[in-house]
């Protein structure tokens, strides 16, 4: 049954052979083990599909929630930008201003970099419009003078999209000669802007918390995986496996949990966007708007998936560094 020793090489060459590995051999073996761990960890996850799917779903939901809120924010911001395009500034001129001065101011404001369009409403035209809309024709007729001033209606360019920039434009207009008053209804704009800043911070805080959640979920799952493979870890350590060798498969498992969850989250998000885009565009048509729901772009989706992978890796690292050192051969 057992062979004699004569097939074995002599003693001296045995000892020497062990150290004969070249650096490139060791490097390629290291790379090989990374590749093996990468593939093997995914195989192990797929071997228990239901269990893995549950973890993936938890990760996916934790990622999809802030991503959805981020999308909502993005869309509201775009809507807000659309409204800001309609912002108009009414510049009331002194009633006694001469025609020449009025034309001069109008020409100068039209030259502003920030101004898209300028329209002059003469006192006569203003009065006519007021009569038409108010139905106070008789009362107005009884007036000796036309009390209305000349008004310049200024439309800022789309690039003037923050309250600060609008205020700056307003200051510039007030400084013009014969300008008596500049009216800019900015309250709602300022409020929307501040709400968006606040919402953005809330989304970021939520994303941070949920990222921590992903970290802990993956960490806990890896902890169980470590317990399940305790025997294997002991044997590997006994026959000379380094900590890195033992750690590697678990880190890749964490990576796969993250990446799988990320892909699933993007899938959920895509389905959600598709589901909502119909009603949204119908609603937009009712408001005579060209507005369309913006989904995640490919680049951002890729970043989120890769980020989830890194989170999973970190979660695994946490678990591994806490639990692996406790497992020693006895």
């Amino acid at each position: 049954m057992m062979k004699s020793t004569d097939t074995s090489p002599p003693a001296k060459s045995r000892g020497a052979k062990q150290t004969q590995q070249t650096l490139s051999q060791v490097a390629s073996a290291w790379f090989e083990h990374h590749k093996d761990s990468f593939n093997d960890s995914l195989r192990r996850l797929l071997a228990t599909p239901l269990q893995s799917l549950l973890t993936w779903l938890v990760v996916a939901i934790s990622l999809a929630l802030p991503a959805t809120l981020f999308l909502v924010l993005e869309n509201v911001q775009q809507l807000g930008q659309g409204w800001r395009g309609n912002t108009q500034i009414s510049v009331f001129l002194e009633p006694k201003a001469r025609d020449g001065a009025v034309q001069k101011v109008r020409a100068r404001v039209a030259e502003y970099d920030d101004v898209e369009n300028i329209e002059l409403v003469s006192p006569k035209a203003a009065l006519a419009e007021f009569e038409r809309h108010s139905g106070l024709g008789d009362v107005l007729d009884s007036l000796d003078d036309n009390p209305l001033p000349t008004v310049l209606i200024v439309t800022p360019k789309a690039s003037i999209d923050t309250p600060e920039k609008l205020t700056q434009l307003r200051e510039q207009l007030i400084a013009e000669p014969v300008v008596e008053h500049v009216q800019l209804d900015m309250g709602w704009l300022r409020r929307l802007y501040e709400i968006l800043v606040l919402a953005e911070r809330l989304v970021m805080a939520l994303a941070g918390l949920l990222a921590l959640g992903v970290l802990l979920v993956v960490g806990n799952t890896i902890r169980l995986a470590i317990e399940n493979r305790r025997d294997e870890i002991v044997v590997v350590k006994l026959v000379g496996g380094t900590d890195g060798f033992v750690r590697r498969p678990f880190l890749y498992t964490g990576w796969w949990y993250g990446v799988g969850g990320g892909v699933l989250a993007m899938l959920l998000l895509a389905i959600g966007t598709l589901w909502l885009s119909g009603p949204v565009s119908t609603l937009a048509t009712l408001y005579r708007s060209e507005y369309q729901l913006t989904g995640l772009d490919l680049q951002l989706a890729f970043i989120i998936i890769a980020g989830a992978g890194v989170l999973g890796w970190l979660g695994a690292w946490l678990a591994v560094s806490r639990h692996l050192s406790h497992i020693q051969p006895r």
Partner: protein
Amino acid sequence: MIHFDNVSKRYSEGHDALLGVNFELALGELAFLTGHSGAGKSTLLKLIMLMERPSRGQVLIGGKHLGRMRNHQIPYLRRQIGVVFQNHQLLFDRTVFDNVALPLQISGYPAKEMGRRVRAALDKVGLLHKETDNPLSLSGGEQQRVGIARAVVNKPKILLADEPTGNLDPALSAEIIQLFQDFNQVGVTVLIATHDIALIQQLGRRVLTLAGGRLLGDGDFVHDSVANP
């Protein structure tokens, strides 16, 4: 090759497992380590593997002070030492081949070289035809031989065995011991811990006898020291 210099080991609960143990095992030597259970055999082997560190004294392996070895260097020490356990320590989630290949995989051998060496080791223990089997389907003696194949596949300079014949009948035990003698003949330093006195008596090899943590006998087998420590 293995040098113990006044080595003591006291476990944290105050139990002295080894007390002032001195001995030296030369390169290519084979020795038995014997004594009653609890005499310190396993502790002595664990000190060589750096599974434990001594409380006092020095252990030198191949001229290297283990006391100066950092934790991250331990794996590289263990790669030079093949170990056979009484309970085999085989993994039942993989084939016999993969079990034996594990030390090579860890050391980073290319796949081709790995296959060659694993088959050579399995051939040596007479289990080449079982390479694709699961170790669970093997008998106790076969499992022990898989463990031996794994211990020698990396061609270590030192081979340790902790009660390798513990669960085997005398005929199988003799086969296993013959294997160790074969490895010793090609230059491997071998230390076998066992309380199988009948086995030791037949061979007339060097025997280290432990009792209560002290090294009582060092030399040819002395029956009395074991029977009446």
